[in-house]
Symmetry: C2
Subunit: 564 residues, 2 copies
C-alpha cells in the first residue's frame, strides 16, 4: 500500500518519478496511437503518461517507445541455456516476459525440476510465468522418469507465477473424453493452453468445448480460421523447426490481430542469436505487410491478454514498466531496453546443484541392440520428414535386407532411428526407419528427444549408433555426431541432458559444430537436431517413434514396424 | 466431469444434443463473420458449431443468431423491481446477464441485504454477477445505515458470483491516496470498476495507476479518449438520467470497439418497458452508423471480456448457451431468447421477508424543520440542474427573504431541497436550494436518494415538504408528490425503500402517475425523480446535498449555504 501511495503521488505530479522517459513517441496498445508524452516510472511501474519530472531522465529523442515483447508460449529448455543465460540472450532483443511450459525438465526431473527452474527465475530481470505441464508423459507411448499426476499439477498451480495448465498435448485423449485428461481440466478450468495439430471439424469443436482456448500448432490458414471461429486464440509460432508465421499472417489481415499472439515455442540458441526472438516475428510481420501497430499488439499486449497478465503488455498507468526504445519501425532491434523501468545490469550466474545433472542412466548398448530382424519380406513403416515442419509423413518402403536383417539404405535415404530409454536404465529400445535426413554414413544422437527426453539416435551404421548412445551417457547428455566410431562433434548438456551450463557462445559454437559434422555425414536438412528431437514426440502427426516403438499419431496407437 | 464428457460426446457427434438451433446465421464475435451452421447445445452450454442433430430442434429459418446481451454495469435497484420481475422485464429484450453493483441495498441493509439479493438471483434464468460495493458510504458526507468495512468487502468477495470490486466512487480519495480507499484496492487488485466523472490529466493517470481499469461516468469524447489511452475500458452508459451513448459512439468509430462495452447503470422501469434494455443501445448504435458487428460485440462479448466472464458473450463451443434469434439487424428485438439453451419459462415469485421492509425511521418533521434562517443578506449556493445529465452546476443566487427566512422563489425557479436522514432516526436534515425543476407549488420526495438513500425532498412549500417526508415514512418508502398537504400521487417501495414487490405494470403506472403529478405542479424536466435521486450523490460534480449539508464535489468538502 505504501508502494501504491507513492505511485499515485508520482502520477499526480506531487513526487518525482524514479525515471522519466521523455521525448518519445509512446505506442498505445489501446488506441493504436503514437502519443508524444513522457512516461513516469516509479518502483518498476508506469505511474503516468503526460508531462513529468524524474530523478533520472532517459531521453528518447523522438524514438518509438513500445511495450516489452512477450513470448506467449515457449519452452525455456529449447534454448539449451540456463535461464540466466537465456535472459542475457533475449533481453537485448526486447523480450521482457515469457510464458514457459517447463515440460522438458518435468519429464526428466519431475515437479522438483520445475520448482528448481522456477526458483532460478525469481530474481531475473525477465518475467518468467509458468504453465503447469499438463502432459507428462505427452502420451502413454512415452517414458519420462515419472508421470505427473493431477495432484502434482494441483501443487504446481498453487505456486505464484504458475498461471494455468500448459498445452494439452494429449488432444486425442481430451477429444475422446478420457477421464484422466478431463480430471486435469477440472483442476483449473480457467486457463488452459491447447495443442491440436491438424485437428478440424467436430474434433476441434470437442477440443474447444473442453474449455481449451488457444493453439500454437496451427500451420494453415484453414486450421487457423476454424480455431478463431471456435473461440480459440491463435498463438502464431515461429520456432526453429516449425515456422508458421508467413503462412498464418493472412489471418491477421483477414480478421484483425485481436485474437492472435506470437510465440517461439522451441527456438535454438543459434536461431535466436542470429535472427532475434519475438522481435524477429514483428520484423517479419511488418515486412510481410502487417500494419506496425497490429504487429506490435500481437507481440506484447495480446500475449498478456490471453494469459490474463493484467499488468503486462502496455505502456500505461499501473502497468509494469517494461519499455523498449526503437530507432525505427522496421528492424525492431531496441536501442534501449528498460525492464521494470531500469536498464538491465549484470545478471549473476546461479549455482547448479548435482541432482539436476547425472540424469542419463542406460544399459550398456552394442551394435546388435540396433539390429532389426526381417523375416518374410514386405514393407516397413518409414517416418518421412516434411521440410520445415515437425509433422511427418507415414511412408511405407521395402527395406534393404542383408542376412535376415533390415538395414539402413543410404542410397534411398533410408536411415535407422532408435529411441533408448535413459531415465531408469530399463534397456528398452524402439527401432524404426526414417527418410529425409540424407545421412550417408555415421550416426547422430540427442538426449533432447521430446517430450520424454530419452535418447534418440539416427544413423546408417549400427556401431556408430551404439557409440553415439554410449557417448551421450558418458557426457551426461547432449548432442553428438559419430562416424567410424569416433566423435565428430558434440554439445554436452549436463543439466537434465537438456541444458548447458556454459555461456551462449560456447553452446552456439558446439551446436554449430554438431550441425556441420552432421552435414559432413551427408545430412542436408536445416536444424537437423531440432527435427531429430521431435521424431520422438508422440502427439505430433503422423508417424513417430518412442522407446516403446512406432506410434501412429492419427490412430493414436503403437504400430509394428512391418506395414502388414 | 460427467457433464464435460457428455458435452464432448455431443461435440464429436457421438450423442444427440439437447437442443440444436439449425438454419441460422450465427454471429462469431471472434471473426465478425455470420456463419451458416447449426448450434449444438447440451446442459446449457454450446457443444459445437457445425452440422448437428438434437432431441429438440429450434428452426432459425435464416434468422440471425447472436449471443445474449450483457449489461456491463448496473444497479438492479434502479428498476424499482424485485429481481424476478426485473428478469421478466429484460429477458424478452435479450439481456441474459448483468453485472450488478448492489450498493443501493447495501446502503440501506448492509451486507445482509446484499446476500439476500444475491440469494434471490440464484435460480433465475438471468445470470446476475455482483461487484462488491466499494463505497458505502459513497463519501464521508453521506449517511447510510452503516458503512461497509474492508472486512465486509472481503467477505462479499469470497461469495461465488461476486467477481470484483464495484465502482470506486470515492475518486478524490483514491487519487489523493487515502489509506482507507487504498486498503480496499489491496483486497482484490485484479478487478475493479471505476467511476471518475470529469477527471482528466494527472488525476486520471493517478486513478488508473491505482489499477482501476474502467469508467462508465464518461460524457465526452475527450474524457473517453483519455481513459482509453490510460488503459481503461469505456463502459458507455445509457441510463435514464445520463444518456451518453450518442456522445461517445464516435470513440467506437475512432478507435474501434475493442475496449468499449455497453451499460445501463440506472434505468427506470418505464424506460426499459418503452425503449428496451441493452438492445436499445445496439439499435441506436446501428442507427448512428456503427457497423452491426461492432455494436453487437460491445453489447455482449466485450462486457464479458472486461469482467473476465470467460464462458459468456459468445456463441462458440464451451460457452454458456445464451442465444438470441433476430429477425433483422435494425430493431434488435429478439424473436426468440434461449437462456442456457432453453426458452424462458415462468419465473416464480419470491417471498419477501419482513426485515427488508420497514426501513424508514425518522423523527417527526414539521414545517419549521425546512425553514432557512437568513441574516445579513448575500448570495446562497444553488444546485443547478443540467438537462439530461446527473452532473450539476454550482450556482449562486440572492435568495428571496421573507421575515428573516430564505424561501423558495418559484418565479425564479428556485426551489428548496432537503435531505432527511432516515435509517437511524437521528433527525439530521440538510437544507439548500435547487434550480431547474420548475416547480410552481407543492413538493416531491423520494427514499431513492443516491447512495445513502435518505429521504430527498424538493418543494416550494415547507408544509408540503414536511408532509411528503411524513408520507414516505408512513408507506415504508417510495416516491410521493404532495400539493396543499395532500398526496397527488405515490409509488410505494416497501423493500428497503427502494424496490416494489408489485408487478411491473403497477410500478410503471404509479411511477408515471408520480411524474404526471409533478408535471401538474409545474415540473418540466424529464425523469424528475431520477434527477432528484442523484442530487444527494456526493461523488458526482459539482454541487450536491446530503443530510449533512451541501457538498462541493470538486473541492470534496461540505460547504455552507451562504456563498460567503
Amino acid at each position: 500500500m505504501a508502494d501504491l501511495a507513492r505511485r499515485l503521488a508520482v502520477a499526480r505530479g506531487d513526487e518525482l518519478a524514479d525515471v522519466v522517459v521523455d521525448g518519445g513517441r509512446v505506442f498505445s496498445v489501446f488506441t493504436r496511437e503514437w502519443l508524444e508524452c513522457d512516461v513516469a516510472i516509479v518502483d518498476g511501474y508506469v505511474a503516468g503518461l503526460g508531462e513529468y519530472a524524474g530523478k533520472e531522465v532517459v531521453h528518447a529523442n523522438g524514438k518509438y517507445v513500445v511495450p516489452g515483447f512477450i513470448d506467449a508460449h515457449m519452452h525455456l529448455e529449447s534454448s539449451k541455456l540456463l535461464v540466466d543465460e537465456f535472459a542475457r540472450l533475449v533481453l537485448p532483443f526486447g523480450t521482457t516476459a515469457v510464458v514457459a511450459d517447463p515440460h522438458e525438465i518435468a519429464n526428466v526431473l519431475g515437479t522438483d525440476g520445475v520448482h528448481w527452474l522456477a526458483d532460478l527465475c525469481t530474481d531475473l530481470p525477465l518475467d518468467v510465468f509458468f504453465m503447469a505441464s499438463s502432459c507428462v508423459p505427452a502420451s502413454e507411448f512415452e517414458s519420462p522418469r515419472r508421470a505427473l499426476s493431477p495432484g502434482d499439477l494441483e501443487g504446481l498451480l498453487r505456486r505464484r507465477r504458475v498461471i494455468g495448465l500448459a498445452e494439452m498435448m494429449n488432444f486425442p485423449g481430451v477429444i475422446s473424453g478420457d477421464p484422466k485428461e478431463l480430471a486435469k481440466l477440472a483442476l483449473r478450468s480457467s486457463h488452459v493452453d491447447g495443442h491440436a495439430p491438424g485437428v478440424l471439424g467436430k474434433e476441434l469443436q470437442a477440443y474447444a468445448a473442453a474449455g481449451i482456448r488457444s493453439d500454437h500448432e496451427v500451420s494453415s490458414v484453414e486450421e487457423g480460421r476454424e480455431r478463431l471461429r471456435a473461440g480459440m486464440w491463435l498463438l502464431i509460432r515461429e520456432s526453429s523447426a516449425a515456422r508458421n508465421l508467413h503462412d498464418l499472417l493472412p489471418l491477421a489481415e483477414e480478421f484483425g490481430p485481436g485474437r492472435i499472439a506470437f510465440c517461439t515455442d522451441d527456438r535454438d540458441p543459434e536461431h535466436i542469436a542470429e535472427e532475434g526472438h519475438v522481435n524477429s516475428m514483428v520484423r517479419e510481420a511488418v515486412a510481410f505487410g502487417i500494419p506496425v501497430e497490429d504487429a506490435l499488439v500481437m507481440a506484447c499486449f495480446n500475449a498478456a491478454q490471453w494469459h490474463g497478465l493484467r499488468d503486462f503488455g502496455a505502456v500505461a498507468p499501473g502497468y509494469v514498466a517494461d519499455l523498449l526504445l526503437l530507432d525505427d519501425l522496421e528492424q525492431f532491434m531496441p536501442a534501449t531496453v528498460l525492464k521494470r523501468g531500469r536498464a538491465v545490469e549484470e545478471i549473476p550466474r546461479p549455482e547448479v546443484p548435482d541432482w539436476v545433472k547425472h540424469t542419463v542412466r542406460i544399459q550398456p548398448v552394442a551394435n546388435n541392440d540396433f539390429q532389426i530382424e526381417w523375416k518374410g519380406g514386405g514393407k516397413a513403416r518409414v517416418i518421412g520428414l516434411v521440410e520445415g515442419q515437425i509433422v511427418t509423413e507415414a511412408l511405407e518402403e521395402e527395406p534393404l535386407v542383408e542376412e535376415g536383417l533390415a538395414v539402413a539404405d543410404p542410397a534411398r535415404d533410408l536411415a535407422k532411428i532408435a529411441v533408448v530409454e535413459r531415465h531408469l536404465g530399463t534397456g528398452r529400445i524402439g527401432l524404426g526407419f526414417v527418410r529425409g535426413f540424407g545421412l550417408e554414413r555415421g550416426a547422430m544422437a540427442s538426449t533432447i528427444a521430446h517430450d520424454a527426453h530419452n535418447i534418440v539416435v539416427v544413423g546408417v551404421d549400427d556401431g556408430d549408433m551404439a557409440r553415439a548412445v554410449q557417448r551421450l551417457a558418458e557426457i551426461g547428455g547432449g548432442l553428438v555426431v559419430i562416424a567410424d566410431r569416433g566423435v565428430q562433434a558434440e554439445l554436452p548438456l549436463p543439466v537434465a541432458g537438456l541444458l548447458s551450463d556454459a555461456p551462449l557462445a560456447e553452446v552456439v559454437q558446439a551446436s554449430q559444430a554438431c550441425v556441420a559434422a552432421a552435414e559432413a555425414l551427408g545430412c542436408k536438412i536445416a536444424a537437423p537436431f531440432q527435427i531429430l528431437s521431435f521424431l520422438a514426440l508422440s502427439v505430433i502427426p503422423k508417424l513417430k517413434i518412442t522407446d516403446r516403438g512406432l506410434v501412429d499419431v492419427d490412430r493414436f496407437e503403437l504400430v509394428p514396424l512391418g506395414a502388414s
